[in-house]
């Protein structure tokens, strides 16, 4: 056997064979690893382009403005579907102003109850179809149609109703001719132009779609744009690419060639890609990172969006169990938070300034009420936040009858302990930290707090049904100051009145907003409103948060603010692009 083969050491041969196998297997495993290391070439090519990458935490829900609920979706849709008007926030006066968009001009008629809009005559959808007044009419018909179930249904509430009280959009939004449309409102109010500025949809695409299944139809995924950008591609859970729309005149084609929205769920990955220059815009950056980037990274600037969001500890003023049992008919005061004096004591016992200084630094501000300091005309700057005063808090609680008679370290009254659950939504690290601080500070007051983290949708569903004792929740203030839904005593109408706050004078002030034409006419009433809330302390208002966006300095022309991150993104340009454009036009 093997006599005709050259002799060799069999052990040596076997070892070589095994080493060969091992090497080839290991090499096969590593080929892909090494192969992946060739890079950068494409990146350089992309960087030469006028392309901007924005990092998003999650995917968007729809490209259909009738249904898009997601904030990012709303901002992207605004770049596709122009409204009759566009808003601008005057930061000096703190008021919302309106500028022409699809409508080049407008005039008020019939004692300010009607507005006649004159449309641009050269505006076109991306398929070259002309934009007409009929697009406006159909859009508002769809927004109003209950079978469509648009999320913007409430925006048409101000339109004129028939004598029976029903809304007939074909009569309220009247097509005069192809480029003129007349809006009939029920009465003059400050937000008329806001409500007339909803995104306009292409009637030739939408009018024949089945109303009850409109969410499922193609336009939710393939929008037809008339704005500065058009959708190039949408890879769910990956990226959305929008490109400049050469046909747009509302207001014009985007200066950037492309904007890519990359979906990167992990915050640290987003931050790393920003640092590496792979991402140009990173919304909602954390304060610590913003401070570090602002000091160390010259190629990144931090843009504060403005104090539009506040967090508060909401004290439920009614007994949640009795409310559930009676199906909302019996409003018995909560045994802990039923009196203003106790609520005030709780506010005094929580060091809000320390929270702001420690966690929000220069990007936050102590809150005194639900009206943002941005609304300069309505904000009551004579009010100061209640101080951190534990001894006064103890005194107030003592006066209310809360004492630690059994010496167990917890206050009691009428055989009931001062003990409650503080609810926070799961996944919000800042609120979790604040809940711990509140727990510690109230513990020093002999108040026992247990923290309950609840899944977000369950958290809100329970809050709406008043199934809680106390919770940390936040709101963004509406750009038109209408706060009935938050503070009206009519709990069926005021879904966000989480604390079940009821006050006659506040109701009068809220009703007053429906009788004015100019928003700033109501300034004094709003200031009084804030004073009442400070006296009553339905919530412990914690802070106004300034959402922060990190932007690569190569991006110019940005107008980020309380109206959004992608606001007027059609005007963004990269580096010296403006100079290049000018040279080209010459």
């Amino acid at each position: 056997m093997n006599g005709d083969r050259p002799m060799r050491n069999p052990e040596q041969g076997d070892k070589t064979f095994f080493i060969k196998i091992q090497c080839s297997l290991v090499l096969a495993a590593l080929v892909s690893v090494l192969g992946g290391c060739s890079q950068k070439k494409g990146q350089e090519t992309a960087n030469a382009n006028t392309q901007v990458v924005i990092a998003l935490e999650g995917d968007i829900d729809s490209f259909n403005p009738l249904f898009a609920e997601d904030v990012a979706a709303g901002e992207i849709n605004d770049l596709f579907f122009p409204g009759l008007t566009t808003s601008r926030f005057d930061t000096v006066l703190g008021v919302l102003e309106y500028e022409p968009s699809l409508a080049k001009s407008w005039e008020y008629e019939n004692g300010n109850k009607d507005i006649r809009f004159h449309l641009q005559t050269n505006a076109r959808w991306q398929d070259s179809t002309k934009m007409k007044a009929k697009d406006v009419e159909i859009s508002y018909e769809l927004y109003a149609d209950t079978s469509v179930a648009s999320i913007r249904q409430a925006s048409v509430d101000g339109l004129r109703r028939t004598s029976s009280g029903s809304l007939d959009v074909s009569k309220a939004v009247e097509v005069v001719d192809d480029s003129t449309i007349l809006f009939h409102f029920d009465h003059p109010y400050p937000g008329q132009l806001f409500d007339a500025g909803l995104p306009i949809l292409p009637s030739h695409v939408f009018q024949n779609l089945p109303r009850t299944s409109m969410r499922e139809q193609g336009p939710s995924r393939q929008p037809l744009s008339a704005g500065p950008f058009v959708l190039k591609s949408w890879k769910p859970l990956e990226e959305i690419v929008i490109t400049s729309n050469p046909l747009s005149v509302v207001p014009h084609s985007a200066k950037l060639s492309e904007v890519i929205f990359r979906i990167i769920p992990d915050y640290h990955s987003r931050l790393m890609q920003l640092r590496a220059g792979e991402v140009d815009v990173l919304p909602y950056i954390e304060v610590e990172d913003a401070l570090e980037l602002a000091h160390k990274n010259m190629s990144i600037r931090i843009v504060p969006l403005g104090e539009r969001f506040y967090d508060a500890i909401n004290w439920n003023s009614i007994d949640p169990e009795e409310y559930q049992r009676s199906k909302g008919k019996v409003l018995r005061p909560h045994y802990l938070f039923g009196t203003a004096r106790v609520r005030k004591a709780l506010t005094l016992a929580i060091n809000r300034k320390e929270i702001v200084d420690s966690y929000l630094r220069s990007y936050g501000k102590e809150a005194i009420g639900p009206i943002s300091p941005l609304f300069r005309w309505a904000y009551n700057d004579t009010l100061k936040p209640l101080p951190f005063d534990p001894s006064l808090a103890s005194k107030l609680l003592y006066e209310e009858g809360w004492r630690d008679t059994d010496g167990d370290g917890v206050l009691e009254k009428d055989a009931r302990k001062f003990s409650f659950a503080l609810r926070i939504p799961a996944g919000n690290q800042l609120r979790a930290t604040i809940a711990s601080i509140v727990q510690r500070q109230l513990s020093a007051m002999k108040i026992r707090v247990t923290i309950e983290q609840v899944e977000r949708s369950v958290f809100w569903s329970d809050l709406m049904e008043k199934k809680f004792d106390a919770c940390i929740a936040g709101f963004s203030v509406p750009l038109q100051l209408q706060l009935d839904e938050w503070w009206s005593s009519d709990l069926e109408r005021s879904r966000f009145n989480l604390t079940s706050f009821r006050n006659k004078r506040v109701d009068e002030i809220l009703a007053g907003t429906r009788r004015i034409v100019k928003e700033t006419d109501h300034a004094n009433a709003w200031k009084e409103f804030q004073t009442i809330l400070q006296d009553e302390q339905p919530c412990t208002f914690l802070y106004w948060m300034n959402d922060l966006v990190a932007v690569n300095t190569r991006i110019q022309g940005i107008e980020m603010g309380i109206l959004g991150i992608a606001y007027h993104a059609g005007d963004w340009y990269v580096g010296d692009q403006r100079a290049d454009d000018k040279a080209q036009s010459k």
Binding site: A29, Q39, A149, S150, T212, W460
Partner: protein, 327 residues
């Protein structure tokens, strides 16, 4: 193997798989509906008018009893209609079809790497039996086998992506991928694939390495191998024709079991690395209470596990002639 008998065997397995899937879907349907919250409250903002929520519940059939919803879902499923995804507003089948290839790519690459690494390490350990290398492989694979996938993923991310910047931290391709050549795009994909695949494969490869080593050592001490050696057959031939086929059976068993673990790992790995696959889709479906999509993801996972195990059974029978199909 007798084709007729194999056909019968597969038919029998398929029939039991249908029953199994039916039970699985029923349990998942009940559990999903028992969870607090509903798709509409997850889908719309609290600021949306309550009437819109009611209309949507009506349109989605969520205003009916759970039992009626189940019957309706079952009726449609039997017709091949798995409903519309609430969050994607598209037929569930379309959504699954757009994400499944990504998971398949990830899973198959991971299985491939597990086999290559596991077998390579097993052979290496046996080649240097009782040496320091053998001990290192043995102990390291024991540690790797016990490591949780999420921890491995985060460590890889921290080390290779954040600290060293060698590999991308997320997604399937780079921003500039479209501008690259086909080869460039493939390389870009491979680059994105490495960390998630390694994350999934580490524990599986460690398991295979340990089982394969033990099996190979047993086979090497078997009488027929000693007999083959005494006949002067080359060691390479002994390895390829005697040792490898007889020691590979435990690897097939592990791979059969590994399919379920692989899918569970994909849920974690796809979420960590933002890989757009069925795992991440399932997590998002659960968070948004997208019942039809949850059921769709479960169905796909169930089918993959059942088919994977069937293939493992058949392979096992192929490599081990002692196991015969039942007559």
């Amino acid at each position: 193997m007798n084709i007729h008998r194999m056909g019968k065997f597969i038919t029998k397995k398929a029939a039991s798989a249908v029953v199994l899937l039916f039970g699985l879907m029923t349990i998942i349907f009940v559990i999903a509906h028992a969870a607090p919250g509903d798709p509409v409250s997850a889908m719309i903002s609290p600021k949306t008018p309550a009437s819109v929520g009611q209309e949507l519940r009506h349109q989605f059939g969520l205003d009916q009893s759970v039992f009626l919803q189940y019957l309706r879902w079952l009726e449609n499923a039997l017709k091949g209609n798995f409903g519309f995804s609430f969050s994607y507003q598209r037929p569930v089948v379309d959504v699954l079809m757009s994400f499944f290839p990504n998971t398949a790519l990830l899973a198959l690459s991971a299985i491939g790497l597990e086999i290559i690494l596991g077998v390579a390490l097993g052979i290496l350990a046996v080649s240097y039996q009782n040496s320091w290398l053998d001990r290192i492989i043995n102990n390291a694979s024991l540690v790797a086998y016990t490591l949780p996938t999420f921890w491995v993923g985060l460590m890889f991310l921290a080390l290779f992506s954040y600290a060293l910047g060698l590999f991308p931290s997320s997604q399937m391709n780079s921003v500039e991928a479209e501008q690259l050549s086909v080869a460039g795009r493939c390389l870009d994909l491979v680059k994105h694939l490495i960390l998630p695949v390694l994350t999934i494969a580490v524990s599986g490869a460690a398991g295979i390495a340990r089982y394969f080593r033990a099996s190979l050592l047993t086979v090497q001490n078997a009488e027929y191998v000693t007999y083959a050696r005494s006949l002067g057959i080359k060691k390479r031939d002994i390895f390829l024709f005697y040792e490898l086929p007889n020691s590979i059976a435990p690897v097939i068993t592990i791979l059969g079991l590994e399919i379920g673990t692989l899918l569970a790992g994909a849920v974690v790995t796809e979420t960590i690395f933002a890989w757009p696959g069925i795992g991440r889709l399932a997590v998002l479906a659960m968070l948004s209470r997208d019942y039809p999509l949850i059921l769709g993801c479960t169905l796909v996972s169930g089918i993959v596990v059942i088919v994977g195990n069937l293939i493992a059974d058949l392979l096992y029978m192929y490599v081990d002639p002692r196991i015969r199909l039942p007559v």
